[in-house]
C-alpha cells in the first residue's frame, strides 16, 4: 500500500515537472500569438497591446505561477484566439478522442489477444505464420497512410463509410459508430500487431514452463492447461496494454487529423498553429496526465498480477 502511494506521489511530481517544462517550452516559441490573431499586417503597436492585454509581457515565472494556480483552482482559462472558456472546449473535444481511443483499444484487445494465443498454440503452423505476417504488416504500416488509403479506396468509392468527420450520437447509433469505424481500425491496428506478438511470445514462454508440462502429464484437459498458461502469460501483456492506452492518445493526434475528427488532438494542432498557449498547455497536460496514469496503472497491475515484483522492491 505504501509502495503504491509512493508511486502515486511520484506520478504527481512528474506531472508537475512536465507542466513546468511544457510552460517554458511553449514560451520559447519564437512568434507571439498576436501575429496569428492580428494577421501579417498588424502594427507593432497592435501586437504590443495584444501581449499586454494577455499578460504575455510579464516575466515567464509570473505567467507560470498564474497559470498553474488557475489550473489548481479549476480555472482553466480562456483561449487566446476565440476567448472561449477552455473548459467548454475540452468538454467538447476530449470525449470524442476518448471514445475513439477506447474503441481502437477495445478493437486491439479483442483481436490481438485471441490472435496471439491462437498463434502460440499453433506455433510453426500456417495460422502462426499468417498471424505473424499480419503483425509485421500492422507494425510497419504508417497510420496516416493507412487512413488515407481507407478513405480513398474504401470510403469514397463504396460510400459505406463517411470519408471523415465525427457523427454525434444524436444522429443515431449506427451512423455514430460508422463514423468511428475506420479511424478506430486505423488507430487500433498497430496495437493489434504489438499486443498479438507480445501475447504470442508470452504464451509460448508460459507453455514451456514445468508446471504446464506437469499439468499436461497429469492429464488436465487442454483448454484448462491453456487457461493456466494464459493467466501467467497475461502479466506482461496487461502492462504493455495499459501503456499502449496512453500511447494511443499520441497516435490519435495523427488519426484525427487524417479523418477530420474535431477531437482533442485536432484542437491541439490548431492550438499549435495559432499559438494558443493556454490551449496547447492544457491539452498537453491532459495527455501527459493520461500517459502517467496509464504507466501507473500498468505498474500497479503488474504488481497485483505478480506479487513477487512488489515484494522485491519492499
Amino acid at each position: 500500500m505504501g509502495n503504491a502511494l509512493r508511486r502515486v506521489a511520484f506520478s504527481g511530481f512528474v506531472l508537475f515537472v512536465v507542466s513546468l517544462l511544457l510552460f517554458f517550452l511553449t514560451r520559447a516559441i519564437p512568434v507571439s500569438p498576436a501575429r496569428i490573431v492580428l494577421g501579417a499586417d498588424a502594427t507593432e503597436e497592435q501586437v504590443a497591446v495584444f501581449d499586454r492585454d494577455l499578460g504575455l509581457d510579464r516575466p515567464v515565472l509570473v505567467q507560470y505561477a498564474g497559470w498553474i494556480g488557475g489550473i489548481l483552482r479549476g480555472e482553466l482559462g480562456n483561449s487566446y484566439i476565440t476567448n472561449r472558456p477552455l473548459g467548454a472546449q475540452i468538454a467538447q473535444s476530449f470525449p470524442i478522442t476518448l471514445e475513439l481511443v477506447c474503441l481502437a483499444f477495445a478493437f486491439a484487445l479483442i483481436v490481438a489477444i485471441p490472435l496471439g494465443v491462437l498463434s502460440a498454440l499453433n506455433a510453426g503452423r500456417a495460422v502462426d505464420h499468417a498471424a505473424r505476417l499480419f503483425a509485421v504488416i500492422g507494425v510497419s504500416i504508417p497510420g496516416f497512410w493507412l487512413g488515407l488509403l481507407l478513405i480513398v479506396q474504401l470510403a469514397v468509392p463504396t460510400g459505406l463509410f463517411p470519408p471523415g468527420g465525427y457523427v454525434p450520437l444524436s444522429r443515431g447509433l449506427g451512423a455514430h459508430l460508422n463514423s468511428l469505424m475506420l479511424p478506430a481500425f486505423t488507430l487500433g491496428i498497430h496495437y493489434v500487431a504489438v499486443l498479438s506478438r507480445l501475447t504470442r511470445s508470452s504464451m509460448l514462454d508460459a507453455l514451456s514452463q514445468d508446471y504446464i508440462r506437469t499439468a499436461r502429464a497429469m492429464g488436465l484437459p487442454a483448454p484448462l492447461v491453456w487457461l493456466y498458461a494464459f493467466k501467467n502469460a497475461a502479466a506482461p501483456v496487461v502492462g504493455v496494454a495499459a501503456m499502449s492506452f496512453g500511447y494511443c492518445f499520441g497516435w490519435a493526434l495523427i488519426i484525427e487529423q487524417v479523418f477530420n475528427i474535431a477531437g482533442l488532438s485536432r484542437a491541439l494542432l490548431t492550438g499549435i498553429r495559432e499559438r494558443d498557449y493556454p490551449l496547447i498547455q492544457l491539452i498537453t497536460l491532459i495527455i501527459t496526465a493520461i500517459f502517467i496514469a496509464a504507466n501507473l496503472a500498468a505498474d500497479l497491475l503488474n504488481r497485483a498480477l505478480n506479487p513477487r515484483l512488489g515484494a522485491a522492491t519492499q
Binding site: 519564437p30 512568434v31 501575429r35 496569428i36 490573431v37 492580428l38 494577421g39 501579417a40 499586417d41 498588424a42 502594427t43 497592435q46 497591446v49 483561449s79 484566439i81 476565440t82 476567448n83 472561449r84 467548454a88 472546449q89 468538454a91 467538447q92 473535444s93 476530449f94 470525449p95 470524442i96 471514445e99 488515407l148 478513405i151 480513398v152 470510403a155 469514397v156 460510400g159 463517411p162 470519408p163 471523415g164 468527420g165 465525427y166 454525434p168 450520437l169 444524436s170 444522429r171 455514430h176 487529423q257 487524417v258 479523418f259 477530420n260 474535431a262 485536432r266 484542437a267 494542432l269 490548431t270 498553429r273 495559432e274 499559438r275
Partner: protein, 519 residues
C-alpha cells in the same frame, strides 16, 4: 444532517452538470451534410473569429460575409457594386465627401431596419482606438460620419482616399446601433446572432469543426439564398477535403491541391475553375539595406535572371508570371515596365557586371514551411538554380510561415520568398511595402519620394482614366529601382460538384456562397 444532505445534493448536481457537459459532443444536434437544401463548404483553416472588423484569415472572411454586409461590395470579378447602399456614392469634387443613399428594405437578423445611424455607429466603433479593431488603420482617413437622414449618410475624409470602397468587403461590416454594448465582443467573435443583414443567420459552431447557418427568410435580395442550411466545415488535410467533395459530404471546397487540380476538375461529377487573385503577390522580399541588395543593378540583374515562366510551370497554372507587383491580367498592368525587368539572361549578366558585385554574391533566403496560397518551396529551388548561372548563391532556409512574416515585417531578413494577399486594389500591396510606416515597409527599406507622392496622388483618382497614368509611372519607378523581385500573381481556385449551380471563383479569394444553388 440537513446541511450535510444539502451539500451532497449540490455535489450531485455538480457531478450531473459535469457529466452532462462531458456527454455534450455525443448529443450534439445533427448537422446534415449534403442533404437537400443544404450546402456544405470545405475550408482548410479554422474560423478564428466571425467579427468582420478583426479579420485576418480568408477562410474566416468567407464565413463572416454570410452574416455581415457593407455599403458596397467587391464582386467576384473585382468590381465595386452597391450592397446596402442603393447605388454607388456621390463624391464631392475635392474627393473629401462621400454620400451614400441606403436601401430602405434591409433588416438586421433581429428584425430591426437598417438606418444611417447604424452605419455611423459601425464606423464610429471601428474608428475608436479603445475598441482595438484590427482593421482600424484601414479606416483612419475617415474624419467623421454624418447622418443626413435615416437613409442617407456622408463620410468626410481627412484626405482623398478613393480605394476605401474596395476594403469594405474584407475588413468591415455594418451592425445595429448599440449592439456592441448590448452583446459584447465575444458575441461578435463566436456567435453573431441578430447583428448582421446577410443571407445567413448564425445557428451554431464548434471550434475546429464547423459553422452552421440557416437561410435568412427576410433577406433583402429576392430569391436569395437558395440554400436552407449552410455549413462551413473545417477540413485541414488537402486529400481529405477532396475526399469530402468526391463523397458529396461537401459540395464546394477551397484551396484544392495544385498538383491534382487539373485532373480533379475533369472528373465526372466535379467542376473547377481558377481566377487570378488580383490582390495576391508572390515575390522575393529583398532588404535593400543589406548587401547585395543595396545595389540597384544587382537587384535588376537578379530580376532579369529569373525565368518566371519556368517558375509558373511548378504551379500548374495557379501562378501568373509578372515582374512587377501588379497582376499581368489587371487593367493597370504596365507591360513595358514589366518587360524591362523580366527574364533576359544576357541583360542580367551585363547588369551584374556593372554592379557592385560583378563576380556574383551569396545571400540567405528564408521561405515558409507551410504554404499560404502557394507552396513556394519548389519555386525557391528553381530560382536558386537559375541564379546559380550568374554565380549568385542562394542559401535557402525554411522557417515557420509566421516567423518568415515576422522577419519580413521587422526587416531582419536579407531575402524572403513569400506570397501576400490584399484586397483587389492596385495600390494596397505597393503601399504596404514601399510607403514608410506601413506594415511591410521595413521588409524592403526602399524609400522613393516620387513614389510616395504618386501613391498619395492615386488616392484622389476615382476613375480608371485618372488612375492608369499614375499606376504606369509607379510601375516604371518600381521596374527601374527593382526594390523587390516579383514572380507573379497567384490564382484563387475552387472545386465543386457539378450539381451545384451559380458558384463563381472570387478574384478576391474569399468564397462567395450567397448565390450558390445546391444540387
Amino acid at each position: 444532517m440537513t446541511n450535510q444532505h444539502a451539500v451532497s445534493r449540490r455535489r450531485a448536481l455538480r457531478a450531473t452538470a459535469g457529466l452532462a457537459s462531458f456527454a455534450t459532443p455525443w448529443l450534439l444536434p445533427e448537422v446534415a451534410l449534403g442533404a437537400g437544401g443544404t450546402l456544405t463548404v470545405g475550408l482548410p483553416n479554422n474560423v478564428a473569429t466571425l467579427d468582420p472588423i478583426n479579420q485576418s484569415n480568408h477562410d474566416s472572411m468567407a464565413v463572416t460575409q454570410v452574416v455581415f454586409e457593407n455599403l458596397v461590395e467587391v464582386d467576384v470579378n473585382g468590381e465595386v457594386k452597391p450592397m446596402l447602399a442603393a447605388g454607388l456614392p456621390r463624391v464631392s469634387a475635392d474627393g473629401l465627401a462621400w454620400t451614400f443613399d441606403l436601401r430602405d428594405d434591409v433588416k438586421f437578423h433581429n428584425g430591426q431596419s437598417l438606418t444611417a445611424e447604424d452605419v455611423k455607429y459601425s464606423f464610429d466603433f471601428v474608428l475608436d482606438p479603445n475598441n482595438k479593431a484590427l482593421r482600424r488603420p484601414v479606416w483612419e482617413p475617415i474624419k467623421q460620419v454624418v447622418v443626413e437622414s435615416p437613409t442617407r449618410v456622408r463620410f468626410e475624409m481627412n484626405h482623398p482616399y478613393a480605394p476605401w470602397l474596395r476594403y469594405m468587403t474584407k475588413y468591415m461590416g455594418i451592425f445595429p446601433k448599440g449592439s456592441r454594448e448590448q452583446h459584447g465582443a465575444d458575441h461578435f467573435r463566436n456567435a453573431p446572432t441578430g447583428v448582421g443583414t446577410g443571407p445567413g443567420i448564425f445557428v451554431q459552431s464548434r471550434a475546429n469543426d464547423f459553422v452552421e447557418f440557416r437561410r435568412n427568410p427576410n433577406y433583402w435580395r429576392r430569391n436569395v439564398p437558395a440554400w436552407e442550411k449552410l455549413v462551413f466545415r473545417v477540413v485541414p488535410e488537402d486529400s481529405v477535403r477532396v475526399a469530402y467533395l468526391m463523397a458529396n459530404e461537401a459540395q464546394v471546397i477551397s484551396a484544392p491541391p495544385p498538383r491534382d487540380f487539373t485532373r480533379l476538375r475533369r472528373l465526372a461529377g466535379l467542376q473547377g475553375d481558377t481566377k487570378v487573385a488580383l490582390g495576391s503577390r508572390c515575390f522575393i522580399a529583398t532588404n535593400n539595406l543589406k548587401p547585395p541588395f543595396d545595389d540597384v543593378k544587382f537587384r535588376r540583374a537578379m530580376s532579369r535572371a529569373i525565368d518566371r515562366q519556368k517558375v509558373a510551370e511548378l504551379f500548374y497554372g495557379l501562378l501568373d508570371p509578372s515582374a512587377l507587383p501588379t497582376p499581368a491580367k489587371a487593367w493597370w498592368f504596365n507591360k513595358q515596365a514589366s518587360d524591362s525587368v523580366d527574364f533576359d539572361l544576357d541583360a542580367a549578366k551585363k547588369l551584374l557586371a556593372e554592379s557592385k558585385y560583378p563576380n556574383g554574391a551569396s545571400f540567405d533566403m528564408i521561405i515558409p514551411a507551410e504554404p499560404y496560397l502557394l507552396d513556394v518551396k519548389d519555386a525557391a529551388l528553381v530560382v536558386q538554380a537559375q541564379l546559380a548561372k550568374l554565380n549568385i548563391k542562394v542559401n535557402l532556409q525554411v522557417l515557420e510561415a509566421t516567423q518568415v512574416i515576422r522577419e519580413v515585417i521587422n526587416g531582419n531578413q536579407t531575402a524572403a520568398m513569400v506570397v501576400f494577399m490584399s484586397p483587389p486594389d492596385p495600390i494596397f500591396t505597393i503601399r504596404s511595402s514601399f510607403y514608410p510606416g506601413q506594415a511591410v515597409f521595413k521588409g524592403s527599406n526602399y524609400k522613393n519620394d516620387e513614389l510616395i507622392a504618386l501613391i498619395d496622388k492615386s488616392y484622389a483618382a476615382t476613375t480608371r482614366e485618372q488612375l492608369k497614368p499614375i499606376m504606369d509611372r509607379i510601375q516604371t519607378i518600381l521596374a527601374d529601382d527593382c526594390p523587390n523581385v516579383n514572380l507573379g500573381t497567384a490564382h484563387a481556385a475552387n472545386l465543386w460538384r457539378s450539381t451545384v449551380k451559380g458558384f463563381e471563383v472570387n478574384t478576391g479569394l474569399t468564397m462567395r456562397v450567397r448565390d450558390v444553388i445546391p444540387g
